[in-house]
Structure formats: C-alpha cells, structure tokens
C-alpha cells in the first residue's frame, strides 16, 4: 500500500470539501477499500474517514419506510432492522463474517457496487432510494453495471430509504472462500407487485428478473416459477462456476426465497 494522508472530519461539509481535492477518497469500513489499496488497485493521496460524521449511522422506521444512514454497519442493520424489515436484517447478518459486519457499511457497499455484493439486491428489489449530499437517486437508475453507479465525483451516500415490503426474503448461495454470493436473489412482495433482483450472476452486476416478477405477481407460489429458466448469456463464468451454472442457480435461489415466504 502506498502512503497517504489520513483525516477524520467531524462534519459532512468538511468531508465534502476535502473530497474535492484531487485523489482524495472516502473511507467507510475499509473492508473493500483497504484490500484494494494493498493490491495497489487504488492509490488515493488522501483518505477521508466517515466514522466521526454525526448522524451518519442509524436505522429508522417511519410508517412504511425504513431509512438507514450511509455509515451504518452491516451489524447494526442486522440487529436494528429486524422488527421493521426482517428480510433486510437477515441479508445484512449474512454478509461476510462477524468481523467484516462490524466494520463494513451500507454506503460503502452501494458505492462500490461489486457485481456480487448483497445490498444492491435489496435496494433494487424494493425500489429503494439512494440519498446523497446532492440528490435522491431511484434504485432503477442507480446501478449502472459492474462497479459502476450513478454517483458523481465528490458525491457521498448519506442514507438509503427503503419502502418496507409486505414480505421479503434474500436467498444467498455463498462462494465458500470469499463468502460473497455466487448467486443470490432478493424477492420482495411490494404492494404494486413482486420484484426479484439477482446479484452475483451477471457481468452487468445486479439486475431484475422480469419474467419471474410477472409470474410471481400473477401467482405468488413456487409453482409459478415452473418452466422459467434464466438464459446463460451475459452470466459470469469463472473457476467457481460457469455461466450455465449461475443461470441455473438464479432459478433455484428465487424458488427457495418464494418457498420461504409461502
């Protein structure tokens, strides 16, 4: 890792100002960024820690929405979202391992948009809103492909606002070495219909499986998925599994999620 200057601002304004400098980068839990810097795939000259920013870490349920501060750790979500939005708490409680969950944050995960990250599936499946220091971005516009998002330079995720589904379930088939999903599906029963988001599978990152959404909106049962198969083109192929294997897992994970809810 190359050396850098470290700072820990105590206000969002100070962080925004510091981020305007060339080669400055935000540091949240560091569970992605520090390993990336060790590999010299990122070489910021200044790291701006978000840990001292006030009101940046919270889980707040109000009516039918749940708002989570950008700096909230996976652990805190797994504990504090349990009563209002158990599907999301369960997802957060299965990210990586306990030590990763004690540091890693929802804002860091969404800014990074790893094609196998867990949170993007919940954000896309519920049609959540990513809130930054500048604007509000709907989930359907936020994810723009592997490691790519609608965030502009200098933009900080301050919160994520989820509409709470009637019922939801995240099914994750973990890659045992990395503990990231090989393929995972988030099924959300929203009042306008069912939404299904898939992570880990596609070269384009998280996506919605519209055929399954239509079938499940018509009839919410595992039988409704019979005969549906996701095509293998565009799916990730690597030493852990072929595109065909991942495409098959999409069907299996979606079905497990529905079975869990019925």
């Amino acid at each position: 890792m190359y050396d850098f200057e470290f700072m820990k601002p105590s206000s969002l304004d100070e962080a925004v100002a510091a981020l305007a400098e060339e080669d400055a980068q935000l540091l949240a839990g560091g569970q992605t960024l520090l390993p990336t810097m060790k590999q010299r795939l990122a070489m910021p000259s200044k790291l701006i820690s978000l840990k001292d920013i006030p009101d940046f870490s919270y889980v707040k349920a109000e009516g039918d929405t749940l708002t989570i501060g950008g700096g909230t750790t996976h652990r805190q979500v797994s504990e504090e979202a349990e009563s209002a939005f158990p599907g999301l708490a369960s997802l957060a409680g299965r990210i990586g391992d306990p030590a990763v969950r004690n540091r890693g944050t929802i804002g860091g995960s969404l800014a990074n948009n790893d094609p196998a990250a867990c949170y993007p599936a919940a954000v896309l499946a519920t049609g959540a809103t990513v809130i930054t220091n500048r604007r509000e971005i709907p989930a359907d516009e936020y994810f723009q492909g592997m490691f790519t998002t609608a965030l502009d330079e200098g933009e900080i995720i301050t919160a994520v606002r989820f509409p709470i589904p009637e019922a939801s379930r995240y099914e994750k088939f973990a890659q045992p070495a990395s503990r990231f999903p090989m393929v995972a599906c988030f099924v959300a029963k929203m009042n306008g219909g069912v939404r299904v988001a898939v992570t880990g599978a596609s070269e384009e990152g998280v996506f919605r499986w519209s055929e399954a959404e239509e079938a499940l909106t018509a009839t919410f049962s595992a039988d409704a998925l019979e005969g549906l198969a996701h095509p293998a083109n565009g799916m990730i192929s690597d030493i852990h599994g072929s595109g065909e294997y991942r495409a098959h897992l999409i069907g299996v994970m979606t079905k497990r999620a529905v079975l869990h809810l019925t």
Binding site: F4, F6, R75, R103
Partner: protein, 161 residues
C-alpha cells in the same frame, strides 16, 4: 508520521505511525505485541482478529489511525491477572483446539466476542460465528468443543493420546 494513542489491554499506548500503518502492524511492530498474527493480509483468515471498542475486527483491515482513542483488546489481554491462561485459552489447551497455533489468537478473540453476545451458543452458532476464522490444521471439531466447554456447556472429553 502522526502520533496515535490507544488503550491496549487496559494500558495507554502511543506511537508514531504513517497513514498506511495497519492496526496489526502498530500492535506487532511498534508495540512488539506479536500475539496477534497475520495469516493472509487479505482480510480472509481471521488470524489478526482483535477487539476495538468491544467489537471483533480484522486488524489487518483497519488503519492504526482509525483506532486512535479506542479501547483495543488483543490475545495478550486474555490471560488472568496472575498471568495464567484465561478460560477460553485454557479450554483450547484442554480440548486440543490447536495444532500449529497460528490461527489460535484470532480464534480465541472471535470466541470471546461470540460468548459476550451469546453466552451459551449451540454448536451450529459457534461454527457460523467462526466463518471468518480459517484453521488449516485442526479440522475445527476441537475448536468448537473448546468453545462449548469455555461457555460451561457439556462436551465429550477428548480421547487420551
């Protein structure tokens, strides 16, 4: 270089670090506390687990400067006041929860964090909690037994050699 100060196992410790100095480097190289191990340096193995403000973290994936002002507990802080092995450490010895011992500091620190949250975990809960702690020697069975025993639960004794 920047000065960093943290409370390590109940004692205030300071040193000069670079921005990039990892917490584990500060512990091992600046403070010469080599109980905390580096197994992978890629955030996978858990050999480097310590507690920061009561929470288990991978000290290879946290900067020393991020721990400025924090309460840090390491494997050196697990012994009893008289220097004898603490409950979890003793159970690892009694139940042969280690072979080469490389993973052991991280295992003990993770076990300590687990028992603080869940004083009587089931075998399954122990295995799940240790997901981020990799051991290349033991096959895990005796580690799980040791943690069961440390939590005061009944365990089959280990066969005599």
């Amino acid at each position: 270089m920047t000065k960093v100060t943290m409370n390590v196992n109940g004692r205030s410790r300071s040193g000069e670090v670079e921005g990039r100095t990892l917490l584990v480097q500060f512990l091992r190289e600046t403070l010469s506390m080599t109980g905390t191990h580096v197994g992978c340096d890629t955030s996978q193995c858990g050999a480097c687990v310590v507690h920061v403000d009561g929470q288990a973290v991978k000290s290879c994936t946290m900067l020393a400067l991020e721990a400025d002002g924090a309460e840090v507990t390491t494997i050196e802080g697990m012994t009893n006041a008289d220097g004898s092995l603490g409950v979890i450490q003793q159970a690892f010895q009694d139940y042969h929860g280690l072979q080469c011992g490389f993973c052991t500091p991280g295992m003990v620190m993770s076990a300590k964090a687990l028992l603080a949250e869940n004083p009587k975990p089931s075998e399954e809960e122990i295995r799940e909690y240790l997901e981020g702690n990799i051991c290349r020697c033991t096959g895990y069975h005796n580690i799980v037994k040791a943690i069961m025993a440390a939590s005061g639960q009944q365990v089959e004794p280990v066969a005599a050699e």
